[in-house]
Amino acid sequence: MQARPYRELAAANGARNTTSGRVDLLVVAQMVEPGSRVLDVGCGDGELLKILTETKNVDGRGIEISREGVNFCVAKGLAVIQGDADTDLADYPDDAFDYVILSQTLQATWQPRVVLEHMLRIGERAIVSFPNFGHWKIRLMLLLFGRMPRTANLPETWYNTQNIHFCTIRDFRDLCNEVGVKIETAVALDAWGRKLRLNFPWWVWNLFGEQAVFRLSRRR
């Protein structure tokens, strides 16, 4: 993902800065109980794991598909394996973690629904952050220019992006209902990384949220 100028805003939220400026990582981190067991699926260079280890004292593990990412993480002392969210989650037993996190990776999986189901089998809770394809800029680009949108957040062209399953906040909410998981809390972040007001209706989030973070649990 592209770095974004989220730093001041993150600081204003009382959170620590991330090295890449990804405010969604801080939002995710805020949703995690200290001292819990966390699996970060698609952990990239391990930035979230590092934040969680340093500030929340979690027992963190990661899966990452890119070798460079894995080797970078392992060399930093993080417990990360080279693997693929689509195939490797099946190996984990039920209830192995308190949280399974999928940050900005959902749209790159082959089977988002299966991945989501595995996440809530392996973990008691799942935290998912993803770019909202329902954002007004994206809608406008398609409407006005008739081309697949490219934004600062999603800079690749349609033919060489790893992102194959885009969804909107509304779509994701529907998936959660279909799979039967409970949405415990959800946050939408606007283009400047600010949290949209909680009392805004969902359609406002869907239109103005550039990315979203959901914390889910199994429906009891």
Partner: protein, 396 residues
């Protein structure tokens, strides 16, 4: 130096086998037999080992290094027979990834080896002659059991780390399985939890080469004053090919001729790759014992960690608290990445704390012994993280 003359004499190997130069030796008497998987008790027996660095006051910084098939205890010091540098000198030493300024490194010659630990070339106390094939068959677990006795002898309750590649990696996995409470973290590199049929097949070719040599004399060559050099050299040549990749062989030698421009239309070593293999074979027989080669390859063949646990590998590591760092290499066709991934999947199934990296290289299986900066960074980083968790002081 009179010692230098010994290098090429056939007696050099048996001498090293019982009275190693430059190594420490611990002897276990009749009261401490080694109980083998075969049901036999080996007694008395001895282990030769080397140590590097200092054991700290609370004995928490010990790192055990397990050597591969044809390696030995001289991991980071000059080899007494070949006078070459230690086999893992790039990895182990002051300031190296396995830093002997921070860790107390122990490396022992495995049981059934020929560099000072009891093996088929040792003197059988019952007969006063070398054991030969009367030496009991040893498994990877037996080697680890003997190492554990050495670690006990050194007064170390818990090893900080156990590391090794190939056959060494098998021992590392066995350590994690047999003594989970005695290893804080492990680094099994370029290995698998079982030897594949293809690998057993290659080993069988090597063993047959040794046994087909008329000088092998049913394994009694030391008593009869012969040495199956040709057979062992052929075994080594075959094995050496499996340690490299096609790409690496091609880059190194291609189809280049040795010292000539045209073929000699004979069976001389026309090609560079041929003379390279011949050199590998002949230098190997100077330092290695043919029967040890049979025993060690056999130990690898028998290794199957899952089979010991009802075929379910995850059961081998159930509830383990040990941290794992599994590493494979893309061009390793002896222990391909898929086999390392099996280890990782089993560890995931037990929620173990595991790191796994595949390193892109065309150097083949031997990559774990070579200059691989990415491997060094991973080993260093993993050990740093584990050292922090273990409460070992980290020198910045």
């Amino acid at each position: 130096m009179a010692e230098a003359n010994l290098i090429s004499t056939p007696q050099a190997t048996p001498r090293e086998a019982d009275a190693p130069r430059d190594s420490l030796v611990v002897r276990f008497g009749a009261d401490q037999p080694l109980r083998l998987d075969s049901g036999v008790e080996l007694s008395p027996f001895q282990i030769a080992y080397k140590t590097y660095g200092q054991l700290n006051a609370d004995r928490s910084n010990a790192v055990l290094i397990c050597h591969a098939l044809t390696g030995d205890q001289h991991v980071a010091s000059v080899h007494p027979v070949t006078k070459k540098n230690g086999w893992w000198e790039t990895m182990v030493g002051p300031g190296k990834p396995i830093d002997t300024e921070r860790y107390f490194v122990i490396c022992s010659n495995v049981v059934s080896g020929c560099m000072g630990s009891s093996g088929p070339s040792s003197i059988n106390p019952k007969t006063g002659k070398p054991y030969g094939l009367d030496f009991p068959v040893i498994t990877i677990r037996d080697m680890v059991r003997a190492q554990a006795m050495l670690i006990d002898h050194l007064g170390i309750e818990m090893l900080f780390a156990v590391a090794g590649g190939s056959m060494g990696g098998m021992q590392v996995l066995q350590w994690a399985q047999s003594y989970p409470e005695r290893v804080f973290c492990v680094l099994p590199l370029a290995c698998a939890t079982r030897h594949s049929a293809q690998n057993i097949a290659f080993h069988e070719v090597g063993r047959q080469a040794v046994m087909a040599d008329p000088e092998w004399r049913g394994g009694r060559y030391l008593t009869e004053g012969t040495n199956p050099r040709r057979g062992l050299a052929v075994a080594r040549m075959g094995a050496h090919i499996t340690y490299m990749s096609d790409a690496a062989l091609h880059r190194k030698f291609g189809r280049k001729f040795q010292d000539r421009n045209n073929p000699t239309f004979s069976f001389d070593a026309d090609f560079e790759v041929e003379s390279y293999l011949r050199y590998q074979g002949s230098s190997f027989v100077e330092r290695f014992d043919a029967n040890s080669y049979l025993y060690l390859t056999r130990a690898m063949d028998y290794f199957d960690l899952a089979a010991e646990h009802g075929g379910v590998l995850a059961n081998a590591f159930r509830n383990t608290q040990t941290r794992f760092c599994v590493v494979s290499f893309t061009s390793d066709w002896l222990f391909p990445t898929s086999e390392s991934r099996e280890i990782v999947h089993a560890l995931n199934a037990t929620s173990a704390r595991v790191s796994f990296a595949e390193i892109v290289t065309d150097k083949g299986h031997d990559a774990f012994l070579l200059d691989e900066p990415e491997l060094f960074a991973i080993v260093r980083g993993f050990l740093d993280g584990a050292a922090k968790a273990r409460g070992l002081g980290i020198k910045e």
